[in-house]
């Protein structure tokens, strides 16, 4: 009986925590969507801002964020996955690899504003890429790398050695084994890490602040060496820097809703790929 009560209390504790977390999430989403969804019209999504950003839409910011995330992905995913494959599949365990791993974990803990400063020094100035969506994307890529490496390595670790031995025993090289068995098997896990990381990166403000994001751009910039608008910064600006904050509040909530919906979309795509992959093997 005593054991039963104990496990009942444990259950209450766990279920309670889950409910509280979900409740907060629900409140946040409800608050934002209830104030924001009404300002999302076709015009809001597809038009340029106008009249000192009190009217019009956020099209350039949406495009900017998508382009930015695209550059981040292109940079961080191949390097991150390659690095994890090296650490987990090729490098023999040693003090050195442990130091590398510890450094990567530490990098994940550095505040994002510091990445911003570093990106400014490295990409904008040293590499002479200027304040541009390219510099900002690369900076966000640096920020994302430690997470992608760590989650990919975890996914690779979960693949049992018997899978690797299957192809090796057939005379496959290590590279073929990784390419044909290990990576496809680990893909769902890798993808989860990648999407979570990119969703976070898409919402970052600090790292792009010094490296390329702009307050307002007259027209649409689609070139990777120009400054750009981005949703999180636009939101920040509408809610703190605008001269008539009260007036643009609905627009700020609308922007927040669009950002959240965009991130949801990333996640749905990832879910779909995972689902398709699972039904295959």
């Amino acid at each position: 009986m005593k054991k039963k009560t104990r496990s009942f209390f444990n259950w209450i504790l766990l279920a309670g925590s889950t409910i509280i977390v979900c409740l907060f999430l629900g409140i946040i989403l409800f608050d934002i969507f209830s104030k924001g969804l009404s300002s999302i019209t076709w015009n809001f999504i597809s038009a340029l801002p106008s009249d000192g950003m009190t009217k019009g839409g956020i099209f350039p910011a949406i495009i900017g964020t998508i382009l930015l995330t695209f550059i981040t992905t292109l940079f961080a995913v191949p390097f991150g996955v390659a690095c994890a494959v090296y650490l987990n599949e090729y490098a023999r365990p040693s003090v050195l690899t442990n130091i590398i791993r510890a450094s990567i974990r530490n990098l994940a803990g550095i505040p994002s504003i510091i990445y911003g400063l570093f990106g400014l020094a490295l990409f904008v100035q040293a590499f002479k890429l200027g304040t541009s969506v390219l510099s900002a994307g690369l900076t966000l890529g640096l920020l994302s790398l430690p997470y992608i490496i760590t989650t990919t390595e975890e996914a690779l670790k979960r693949i049992p050695n018997s899978m690797r031995e299957a192809t090796l025993a057939l005379g496959a090289t290590q590279f073929e084994t990784i390419k044909d068995v290990v990576l496809p098997k680990a893909l769902p896990g890798i993808l989860t890490g990648v999407i979570l990381t990119l969703s976070r990166a898409a919402g970052e403000t600090a790292p792009i602040l010094f490296t390329g994001v702009a307050f307002y751009i007259n027209g649409l910039s689609t070139s990777i060496n120009q400054e750009f608008m981005a949703l999180p910064y636009h939101l920040y600006m509408l809610s703190t820097q605008h001269q008539s904050i009260e007036q643009v509040r609905p627009l700020a909530y609308g922007t927040a809703s669009v950002l959240i919906l965009l991130v949801f979309m990333f996640n749905i795509i990832a879910f779909y790929i995972r689902f398709k992959h699972r039904s295959q093997d």
């Binding site: 023999r92 365990p93 018997s162 899978m163 690797r164 031995e165 299957a166 192809t167 090796l168 025993a169 057939l170 005379g171 496959a172 090289t173 073929e176 044909d180 068995v181 496809p184 098997k185 295959q280 093997d281």
Partner: protein, 251 residues
């Protein structure tokens, strides 16, 4: 005198400082089934895996001695390990089909070894027939291999090995994860395969070893205690340890 297909001479194997295999000398006769028996942890799998160089991946494994496939020195750095593994196939304890379709499980090895594309379907079919799996799967070759039953998966793993026409097949407790009917099927398969292949099998099942083996090696604590015909090992063992083990007194 039997023709020798695979042999180890003065083989010592260490994991770190621990000596796991101690001065093993063994000759596996061609086109026969040789069983390795012995209590858990005595080094049967370790010995088996030395022949297709599966220890290459363990950083702390170290090997001394000479292992030969015919006249080929298996550990000579001049010889490509992938070529050796093509000639010495391996079937594992737990069925480990590739995360691909049934057909791709067999065509995979043919593709990486650059068999002519137009011959592959025929080779796949004959390997499946040889492994007595064809009738069961011929209509669902595009099905993911993991959807097969455990016994079918293990026969698929054998087919996947056979498709390359290896000379030797190493099997590490291929029936231990299977039900009696499936393991019986695998046994029958082994009896048929031995006409064309040299088979080395690790087993804990004494009845099985007795049924299928031509020769038997008994290992104990990293040493090959006795190596003889199946009849002698089971009916008339020379060593006291062997006698106790096959009599079921320990292990």
């Amino acid at each position: 005198m039997d023709e020798i297909k695979l042999s180890a001479h003065a083989l010592n194997l260490y994991f770190g400082n621990k000596k796991i295999l101690k001065n093993i000398n063994i000759d596996f006769p061609k086109n026969q089934v040789t069983s390795l028996i012995g209590p858990s942890g005595c080094g049967k799998s370790t010995l088996l895996r030395s022949f297709n160089r599966m220890h290459d991946l363990s950083p702390d494994a170290r090997i001394e001695g000479t292992l030969k496939l015919d006249e080929l020195d298996i550990y000579d750095q001049k010889n490509s390990v992938t070529e050796i593994r093509k000639r010495i196939g391996m079937v594992f304890q737990k069925p480990n089909p590739l995360p691909k379709t049934i057909y791709e499980n067999l065509s995979y090895a043919l593709n990486i070894h650059k068999f002519p594309k137009n011959e592959i379907p025929q080779l796949v079919e004959s390997a499946l027939k040889e492994s007595y799996l064809w009738e069961e799967v011929k209509d669902e070759l595009k099905k993911p291999a993991v959807k097969l039953s455990g016994g079918q998966q293990q026969r698929l793993c054998i087919a996947r090995t056979v498709v390359l026409r290896p000379e030797v097949i190493l099997m590490d407790e291929p029936c231990s994860a299977l039900d009696p009917i499936s393991s019986h099927k695998i046994e029958e398969l082994i009896m048929i395969l031995k006409k064309n292949y040299t088979i080395v099998i690790v087993t804990h099942n004494m009845q099985q070893a007795q049924r299928i083996s031509d020769k038997v090696g008994f290992m104990y604590l990293g040493e090959l205690v006795e190596f003889d015909t199946a009849d002698n090992i089971f009916k008339n063992p020379a060593n006291e340890l062997t006698k106790n083990y096959v009599g079921g007194h320990f292990g």
